[in-house]
């Protein structure tokens, strides 16, 4: 009965009075949402931001998903004898350094000799320190686009040392890589310690019988940065050039090309020892973000975290944004959530989602750092080079609690560090298959807590949900107003009204594409230029290009006369659609970028409306709206946002150097082939310009 009632109520009468069949529920829901798009867009956006803030609460405890790993189930076999081997190497290197100042190559030989004494196969590899050069066509090409540089100077090249222990009964199909970046010329005492840890472990591994995967120890020459030597070694490992290499010509030392390989890599661990721990315990920091926000399998982090915390007693941490820890607004949120959680717990003891405000702060600071590093798309350490070859890798940065010259503590430190690595290697060695069981898409809120993709997607989905709704509603509005104003209701014309707006949107996206490519050509300009000059060059060329676009295509200009201009509602509708498509595409490539981009772009796009009518009407509501859109547009400008985020991170910037800083930042983005750069140039900038056009629309 009730159903019949409802049916009758919702029946829409057509002109001739006969009842029309009601549309399907899903269509009705769509129409309903579109009709109330302003309310829903506010609700959804707010919910999106709230969901983002709620993420630390929703984090789950990590667990070891792959049963074969069995971390910590075997007793450590590392003995004092192995550790004394490691200590001896460190001592020898120190003595050698004292006697032979600045002879890096000989240190490499020394390490190589140690490796071969332990029964490993040793190989030396030379590489060019030059990093990646920006080339627009190579943006998404794989790491195998290895180009031989023409004029190579023999003066500057690095030498990596790699030792391979063959698994006694293994079939040699797989290997595990240990990397210690080491500066052969002026490596500090802390760097020596990392060599000590790994050589203790290596001494053990050369004797054990349980190995089923070969072990590679790579001592990367970190004179030219941590990343470059590892990347060069991996390139040689995976895609060597069989042609004559220029480096072989300058063969002052006898490192013949005896590059050795050991099968498919199962996992890689980068070990660094630096600085003294501020905590009472030895600190272990885990870095996992690789290029474009790719993460290693969560199981690898879990294993290291489990062993470090429960077996070796390290204080494990992941990076966090320190400035957020003291922010008061986040603290207020934390307290609110805590109170809500307590209330919920009071209502039902099973509802245990509340966490203390301090934990919340900690979690959000870690999450923000995780989000930021993923969004930036720049690897946070040498492990990033492995991800390009689908190898799971993490960097472990150990900070001992003692000064580096303390002999007594050193032994204990080596023992624990090597045991941690031994346990991890043993776990990976147990693995029959490659890492696939656990998550690849996650964010960490603490070393033992994570948010999986299914949870953090909600925030983004809520944020972008209003975009298609508002676009549709604006389109309907625009169509209506256009038919009213033109008094020419030709049906043919009606369906193509969005074409003008689309042309404008397309032109500005094309402009964005050209601006994205400009830095490449600016880099080609002969002569040395400071980053500031380059950014000025870039700014002037882009703005002149923009002016040319506006002059040649008057339809695109916000300052054009009313006749040429399109209806702003339709323009906004198409802009929002373009932004929606751009954001959704980006969310597939790099989710964190899309998330931060949506936080900026969605309110800007939604709020954008012409200010002229607002100023004319002089009503408080419209004036407020115009003010909001101006503020949002100011923040949304990439340079501006860069400055603000720098300020948030606690780095002050003044004046003109901002341009230079911004240039360097962008340069680093494209050098690392970060998709964020493409996003800024091809989605964010055009959408921002379009919003600007709407703001100054003459209607």
């Amino acid at each position: 009965m009730a159903a019949v009632n409802r049916d009758n109520e919702e029946e829409v009468k057509t002109d001739d009075g006969s009842p029309k069949i009601k549309p399907r529920p899903i269509v009705r829901l769509g129409i309903f949402l579109i009709a109330h798009s302003p309310v829903f867009s506010v609700v959804f956006s707010a919910a999106g931001v709230l969901a983002l803030l709620l993420l630390p609460l929703l984090a789950k405890n990590t667990y070891i998903s792959e049963n074969a790993l069995m971390p910590g189930s075997a007793r450590s076999m590392l003995s004092n004898r192995d550790v004394s081997d490691g200590s001896k190497l460190v001592k020898d290197i120190k003595n050698f350094r004292l006697n032979h100042e600045g002879q890096g190559v000989e240190v490499q030989k020394l390490i190589g000799k140690y490796m071969s004494d332990m029964g490993a196969e040793v190989s030396y590899q030379k590489f060019h320190p030059e990093g990646n050069q920006f080339h627009p066509l190579h943006f998404f090409s794989g790491p195998d686009s290895y180009t031989l540089l023409e004029n190579v100077s023999c003066a500057s090249y690095g030498v990596n040392v790699a030792g391979i222990i063959r698994a006694p009964r293994g079939d040699g199909k797989e290997s595990i890589v240990l990397v210690t970046p080491y500066d052969f010329i002026n490596g500090g005492d802390y760097e020596d310690l990392s060599l000590g840890i790994v050589s203790s472990l290596f001494s053990l591994l050369s004797r054990v019988t349980w190995l089923s995967k070969d072990i590679i120890w790579l001592v990367a020459d970190s004179r030219y940065g941590d990343y470059r030597p590892v990347a060069a070694w991996l390139t040689e490992y995976h895609s060597p050039s069989f042609k004559v290499s220029d480096l072989l010509k300058c063969d002052e030392q006898n490192t013949a090309d005896n590059f050795r390989r050991a099968g498919t890599m199962a996992a890689a661990l980068v070990l660094k020892v630096d600085g003294r721990s501020e905590k009472f315990e030895d600190t272990l920091s885990i870095y996992a973000e690789a290029s474009n926000g790719q993460m290693p399998n969560l199981d690898l982090i879990n294993v290291v975290n489990y062993l470090a915390v429960h077996r070796q007693g390290f204080y494990v941490k992941v990076e966090k944004v320190v400035s957020l820890l003291s922010s008061s607004w986040l603290k207020i949120f934390g307290e609110i959530f805590e109170a809500v959680g307590k209330l919920a717990h009071m209502l039902n003891p099973d509802w245990n989602f509340g966490i203390p405000a301090a934990d919340y702060l900690e979690g959000s600071a870690t999450l923000a750092s995780s989000l930021y590093s993923q969004a930036l798309g720049i690897p946070t350490g040498p492990h990033g080079a492995f991800r390009d070859y689908q190898v799971d890798a993490i960097t472990l940065k150990v900070s001992p609690r003692f000064p580096p010259d303390s002999k007594t503590r050193q032994h204990d430190f080596f023992l624990r560090g090597a045991r941690l690595l031994e346990g991890t290697i043993r776990s990976v060695n147990n693995l029959l298959e490659k890492f696939h069981q656990s998550f690849f898409l996650y964010m960490l809120t603490s070393p033992s807590k994570f948010i999986s993709v299914g949870v953090y997607m909600i925030a983004f989905a809520l944020l972008v949900a209003p975009l298609p709704m508002v676009a549709a509603s604006l389109y309907i509005d625009g169509c209506k107003s256009l038919t009213n104003s033109t008094d020419n209701p030709t049906e043919n014309f009606k369906s193509w009204k969005w074409l003008d707006a689309a042309k404008q949107v397309f032109t500005l996206h094309l402009f964005g594409f050209i601006v994205t490519l400009l830095p490449y050509f600016i880099c080609q300009v002969p002569g040395q230029h400071s980053p500031t000059n380059r950014s000025i060059m870039w700014g002037t060329t882009s703005s002149s290009l923009l002016l040319i676009t506006f002059v040649t295509m008057p339809g695109c200009s916000p300052f054009s006369s009313r006749l040429h201009g399109t209806n702003w509602a339709i323009l906004k509708s198409v802009t929002i659609s373009a932004a929606f498509i751009g954001l959704c595409l980006m969310s597939i490539i790099n989710f964190a970028t899309a998330e931060i981009g949506a936080l900026l772009l969605v309110p800007t796009c939604l709020m954008a409306q012409p200010i002229k009518p607002a100023l004319r009407s002089r009503r408080l509501k419209s004036l407020l709206g115009a003010f909001c859109s101006i503020v949002l547009l100011t923040i949304g400008f990439p340079v501006m946002f860069f400055a603000i985020s720098k300020g948030l991170l606690g780095e002050g910037l003044v004046g003109l150097s901002l341009g230079g800083e911004f240039w360097t930042w962008l340069e680093s983005l494209w050098a690392w082939k970060s998709a964020t750069y493409l996003y800024i140039g091809m989605v964010h900038l055009p959408c921002w310009l379009l919003c600007l056009c709407i703001l100054f629309h003459p209607s």
């Binding site: 009965m1 019949v4 009632n5 009758n8 109520e9 919702e10 029946e11 829409v12 009468k13 006969s18 009842p19 069949i21 129409i31 309903f32 009709a35 109330h36 004494d117 794989g142 790491p143 195998d144 063959r166 006694p168 009964r169 293994g170 079939d171 040699g172 199909k173 797989e174 019988t209 995976h238 895609s239 060597p240 069989f242 042609k243 004559v244 290499s245 090309d257 005896n258 390989r261 099968g263 498919t264 209502l347 039902n348 099973d350 390009d388 070859y389 689908q390 029959l432 298959e433 490659k434 696939h436 069981q437």
Partner: protein, 646 residues
């Protein structure tokens, strides 16, 4: 007493008669056992067990054999196998330290897992059938999954690149086969004394499988008698090669470890297998030419050979043979008894260092590229130090050349682009015609047959390195074609590099007694080496989500059947007519409701039904909807609260 004597006498007569039958033919079945021990330069010891079983060509006693295993002879007769070799291997042969240019390594360095090849004596059309049957028979015989070689995607028919030139040869290998005792036990069952007596009693399973390399091989060949009406004889050669690490107690790292048979295997030999014709233990020592005396005949010098300042043997050898680069000590285990078991030991007194002879080129193979789509396989051949000394060079037209055959099987999901073959000699790219003498390619067919490539390279003798690369695409498998551990990746079997102009043999200066092991060493064998097995990660579906699959399937089913039912059940025309009739007369409850709403709004009743803007309607709807949602949510919360509280 008398009856007992008589019966004994009768027994003797019968026995002598039987013996007369057995030895009636000019040849008899022979079994011989031998063990070769060889210290390796990297402080390990190689033990090579060699058993040979010969069944002479005869049909005097039908299918009956005295010593020869019946299972094998049946196999040969049923599938008409002309020659066959089956090997089970665990671990990798270290060509650098364990040698690559002696008969031992060229015959016993095998690829990881199972390798099987066979030549058949049947018409060409029946070769594949025989192969398939043979794999199944062997699979049952050796407790191994050799039957997987039955599928045409896993074997190939090499023409000339493998070794024996025959078009009735089939070759297959299973790199992932795990080798363990379950394979060794049936192999031992073929021996007349099993592992109860003789040399094979040394095979203590834990010590055999503790080794760094372990390869058990079974080679059988038929010997044509040449006489009419006489069947063919069979020669069965069974070898087990293990590389063991002696337990070291000495601290000195440059000292070679001392060992004895009991310390290596944990067992001793007590007497020979009584059925064996010969039963010898050999000890081969390489790189002792410094002590090479001109004359080994005299007793004192011979004594100095086995007991000197460098090393000491615990037993006196029967004979000492000299080879171009090594000495061979021969021991007979006949003299050992229960009270005095044969326990050969070697004690080093001085550090000693030597190196093994290497194959002319050292081969390694690796994968190139990244990602799940494309890649390349590269084979790298590097000149070894011993290359200059080697004989067997082909001095045609005044040029010194080395010939190298490369034989490689590609599974079908590795789609090799043969046109992308690139050859770099000493880092200079060469055209195919420059170095490639012969090439034979049979491309793979998806899910039907594997690809095969045989090529013969002709390289200058002074070559330093050769690199061969060939690109491939990774194929997609059907969901049910994935093995259980698909995420491990897929194996590409080892490639075989052989040097047709180089033959390895031990050249003894003295004439030998007819020991099968030594005569097999004396034969010239092709120098060959296998490369590593490669692991290719292919794209794999997420197998761990059956739950999701079930959910999605159920949803689709529900949607499908729901809409189908809807379509079948509904009559649109009828519904329209019903709606029209409903539109004319309104129900009582509806009227009541409309009156109430009208009162709330303060509007006359008539307006409600006639003209209502969609916006107003939707606002009514939304308020109602929101009310309903709140009601339902409240009910749910209350229910949740009361249900879980208890």
């Amino acid at each position: 007493m008398a009856s007992l004597l008589r019966s004994l006498f009768l027994l003797l007569i019968v026995q002598s008669f039987l013996v007369a039958i057995a030895f009636g033919s000019n040849e008899v079945e022979e079994f011989s056992e031998a063990l070769l021990l060889k210290p390796l330069p990297d402080r390990k010891v190689l033990a090579h067990f060699h058993f040979e079983n010969r069944a002479p060509p005869s049909n005097s006693h039908g299918l009956h054999h005295h010593l020869f295993p019946k299972a094998i002879s049946q196999l040969v007769q049923k599938f008409r196998v002309k020659e066959m070799e089956l090997s089970f291997t665990q671990g990798r042969w270290n060509h650098e330290h364990w040698g690559g240019f002696d008969p031992l390594s060229s015959m016993n360095a095998k690829p990881v897992g199972v390798e099987l090849w066979a030549v058949f004596d049947v018409p060409q059309s029946q070769v594949d059938t025989s192969w398939k049957n043979l794999t199944h028979a062997l699979s049952g015989l050796f407790c191994a999954s050799i039957n997987f070689l039955e599928s045409s995607t896993s074997y190939a028919a090499p023409t000339w690149g493998f070794g024996p030139n025959s078009n009735k040869l089939r070759y297959g290998s299973l790199p992932r086969e795990a080798v363990c005792t379950e394979n060794l036990t049936p192999w031992l069952k073929l021996l007349p004394c099993r592992d109860k007596d003789g040399i094979s009693a040394l095979m203590n399973r834990p010590s055999v499988y503790r080794g760094f390399y372990h390869s058990q091989r079974l080679h059988l060949s038929t010997v044509e008698s040449g006489q009419e009406g006489l069947g063919s004889g069979i020669m069965l050669e069974q070898t087990l090669t293990v590389v063991l690490q002696p337990d070291t107690t000495s601290v000195e790292s440059n000292m070679q470890p001392s060992w004895s048979l009991s310390s290596l295997f944990g067992r001793k030999v007590v007497g020979r297998c009584v059925l064996a014709k010969s039963s010898n233990v050999y000890l081969q020592l390489e790189g002792l030419l410094g002590h090479g005396s001109k004359n080994v005949d005299t007793e004192i010098e011979a004594h100095g050979l086995w007991k000197n300042a460098d090393f000491e043997l615990s037993l006196k050898p029967e004979r000492v043979l000299r080879e171009s680069s090594s000495f061979l000590f021969i021991f007979d285990i006949d003299k050992s008894s229960d009270s005095e078991p044969f326990d050969l030991g070697l004690t080093w007194n001085l550090p000693s260092k030597w190196s093994c002879q290497q194959a002319p080129l050292h081969a390694s193979r690796f994968l190139m590229g990244s990602g799940n789509e494309r890649g390349a396989i590269a084979i790298l051949l590097k000149a070894t130090e011993s290359q200059e000394k080697l004989s067997g060079r082909d001095l045609t037209n005044g040029q010194c050349t080395i010939k190298a055959n490369i034989f490689q099987i590609f599974p079908w999901y590795i789609k090799v682009y043969y046109h992308t073959l690139q050859i770099f000699v000493d880092q200079q790219q060469k055209t195919d015609s420059e170095v490639l003498k012969k090439i034979n390619v049979s491309p793979s067919t998806d899910k039907v047959s594997s690809g095969m490539m045989e090529m013969m390279l002709e390289l200058p003798c002074e070559v330093k390195s050769v690199a061969i690369s060939i690109e491939y695409d990774k194929g997609f498998l059907h969901i049910d074609e994935y093995p259980p551990d698909a995420n491990q990746g897929f194996d590409i079997p080892s490639a075989l590099i052989s040097f047709p102009n180089h033959h390895a043999s031990l050249d003894f200066q003295e004439e030998l007694n007819k020991s099968p092991l030594l005569s097999s060493f004396k034969e010239k064998s092709l120098v060959r080496s296998y490369t590593e097995v490669l692991l290719v990660p292919l794209t794999t579906p997420d197998f761990s989500m059956p739950y999701n699959v079930i959910t999605i399937t159920c949803t689709i089913f529900a949607l499908y059947f729901g809409s189908l039912l809807n379509v079948l059940r509904r009559r649109i025309g009828e519904e329209e007519r019903f709606l029209k009739s409903q539109g004319k007369k309104t129900g009582g409850l509806k009227q009541l409701l409309s009156r109430i709403t009208a009162k709330i709004r303060g509007r006359p009743i008539e307006e409600q039904s006639s003209s209502e803007s969609p916006a107003a309607q939707s606002s009514v709807l939304s308020s109602k909807l929101i009310f309903k949602i709140i009601l339902v949510a409240g009910a749910a919360a209350a229910w949740q609260y009361f249900s879980t509280d208890k």
